[in-house]
Symmetry: C2
Subunit: 395 residues, 2 copies
């Protein structure tokens, strides 16, 4: 069978292979990219789904508008308002998880050979998704304060990309938080170079202490002309439930219209059953308590992992304590002759019954093999401490 | 904003514009392509969703395998068995409605410029979906017994298509049923020319009298080598609920693996909440009664529409009484100087407060402007009679 040429640009990820080993009995996994099922507000979602079927069975079970189920668009508009973003329900479309927003951006924007700037490292499924549409990805370096905007400007000026893709708040895998100053700089760059900026924000609500700076979208009201150069992707997956597959995209009207047309031929619309359930949930008023709960639990776990890493691995790793999200991004320093290759460490770790993801695949260019990603989301504090201890032994 | 070049191949359909007029008060619509909300087994789906959340909240709300939720794959395997198809759960993937199966086939198989043969007429969203991937569509003529296999063979021999796409059973818009003889011929052509055949089958369960011939997939067991050249798309949208967005694809292992990889970057996976609900519903044993009910109601409506068309429009239209599905496909004959342009009739019909869809947009090549599609799914018998009367007046 002869497949489409676009498949030549991607490969099934090394990480998928790793995940097959996670079934090993007794393993402690820091490898996942998902939230803890124990955090799901099952009772609240049960009530919401019942209400959806009782009050609006036609809407919840019938075909719906490609743009999204009206009551959900309305609720999401209100939800965004609590985060400082003024957007009309018609200014957003519902997507089948924010993964689909990425797919629609690829389909709508990327012609084969087009350049797209991403962070190095960035979300693995973004790399693959854009490459399937023929994108040539350029990697912009980051530090603990997110993408280095000076370097980003040079890359924009040199490559004139179709767009710049950023996960500014507690990014996957970096956990980094783009500083307020750099957020403003990104908006200035958008206007100066008339470049579309895509802000992917699935983790912004998962902060542990102080709230992070406003999203780039929220800040755009202070930078004339920038709002028309911004696409923003949101998601309920990390804070409520990934299984609902509810994401959304806010973008300039013209882009939103083209993305909607593409979505029509991708999946017609997102499950109205999921959409009506999510709308009822947001309407129920349970979201603030749910958010407070996940912030507290993940915050404790992040604290525990940071302390354990220092205790068990010492100067063999360097990292910045994440202020939110689901991930530690660490780097093997090679101090005192210790291992500095995360692929090799991953193999040894599996033998010691602890798993994590090596960082190299998250780079679209110039992989750093000393990096690794550790999720603190799904193991409790005791497991985190035991797991990091094993990691220290593996090292 | 400069969009991807692939968007140049499609346009928002004329039909979408028409649909904006359907809100007019008092209108009777035969324009929709959707089932009747009143047919939905709301009680059964309510129970199924409650069970899903009670018994498997982790599975129903968490990220899931891209291939599909295991209990649903298992139920779909059993469901296919009742239709004469022997397929292991691992031999199918769950898709976000069967529209996504089409999208994945496009993404996986079509390089820009590749030829694909479709029926003339065929499903509008298939045309647009494949064109977005750069396909050049070739139209194979049909009659009341489905695609004319002699003509199809000539086209395959001439164009060497990437694949042939058929809706053999009560197709949208044609309502035609491919005869048993022609189904066998299609399988022979697949083997003779080593051409992939895509069988889209969302309507096969909606028959009114005798069951239709087995699906092309079911028949493949008698034609050596043909199974490896078949992809089959199924859906719960027309018989249970479109809002769940549950479709599936059965295909050779290599194609299924590539489609799964593409799906990973399209939407990660189909809503596990929808999938777990559908699995519980199929497990509940309510499906046979639901099928019997929709067959009966739609059968009565089809009967009523056929009789009304004969009575009210006489020899001004020709059509074959459909044996299943949701649609009449009719042709204006122009007899006695009557109108033979369905676009013009559609405009006059809206003035008389009745709507249908002109047939021309359903042709990938050489549109027949005398054709029209009438859905009998959503209006009851009295409305059908009144609506067809108005249609007669418009004509």
């Amino acid at each position: 069978m002869q497949f489409a040429s676009r498949l030549d640009n991607v490969e099934t990820s090394a990480i998928r292979e790793l995940f097959k080993l996670l079934g090993k009995p007794g393993i402690i996994s820091f490898a996942g990219g998902f939230p803890d099922s124990a955090m799901f507000d099952v009772e609240g979602l049960k009530e919401a789904s019942q209400k959806a079927l009782a009050e609006e069975p036609g809407g919840a079970l019938q075909y719906g508008a490609t743009e999204g189920y009206e009551p959900l668009r309305s609720q999401l508009s209100s939800f965004m308002k609590t985060k400082g973003v003024d957007v009309d329900p018609s200014g957003l479309i519902v997507t089948t998880g924010s993964q689909q927003a990425l797919d629609l951006l690829g389909k709508t924007m990327i012609s084969p050979g087009d350049k797209v700037i991403v962070e190095g490292p960035t979300f693995l499924a973004t790399i693959q998704c854009f490459r399937l549409y023929g994108a040539q990805l350029i990697s912009a370096p980051i530090d603990a304060n997110g993408v280095k905007t000076d370097e980003l400007e040079k890359l924009i000026a040199e490559h004139k990309p179709k767009f710049v893709y950023l996960i500014p708040t507690f990014g996957n895998p970096s956990g980094a938080m783009l500083s307020l100053e750099r957020r403003k700089k990104v908006l200035e760059l958008a206007v100066k170079y008339q470049t579309l900026i895509v802000e992917d924000d699935p983790y912004g609500d998962l902060y542990f202490g102080e709230a992070p700076p406003p999203s780039i979208l929220a800040l755009s009201k202070d930078v004339p002309g920038s709002r028309e150069l911004l696409a923003h992707c949101g998601s309920l997956s990390k804070v409520l439930s990934p299984g609902l597959r509810i994401g959304w995209m806010i973008a300039p009207a013209e882009l939103l219209a083209k993305a909607t047309m593409c979505k029509q031929f991708s999946d017609a619309h997102t499950s109205t059953f999921s959409q009506a359930t999510a709308a009822q949930y947001l309407k129920s008023g349970r979201m603030p308590a749910t958010l407070a709960h996940v912030r507290e639990v993940y915050g404790q776990r992040a604290q525990a992992m940071g302390a354990a890493l220092k205790r068990e691995l010492g100067d063999a790793v360097s990292f910045t304590q994440p202020q939110g999200g689901l991930f530690f991004w660490a780097r093997l320093t090679g101090a005192n002759g210790k291992l500095a290759d995360a692929n090799e460490l991953a193999k040894r770790a599996i033998e010691k019954l602890v798993a994590f993801v090596p960082g190299a695949p998250f780079f679209a260019e110039k992989p750093d093999v000393a990096t690794l990603r550790l999720s603190f989301a799904t193991a409790d504090v005791a497991k985190i401490e035991e797991g990091v201890k094993r990691l220290g032994q593996a090292l």
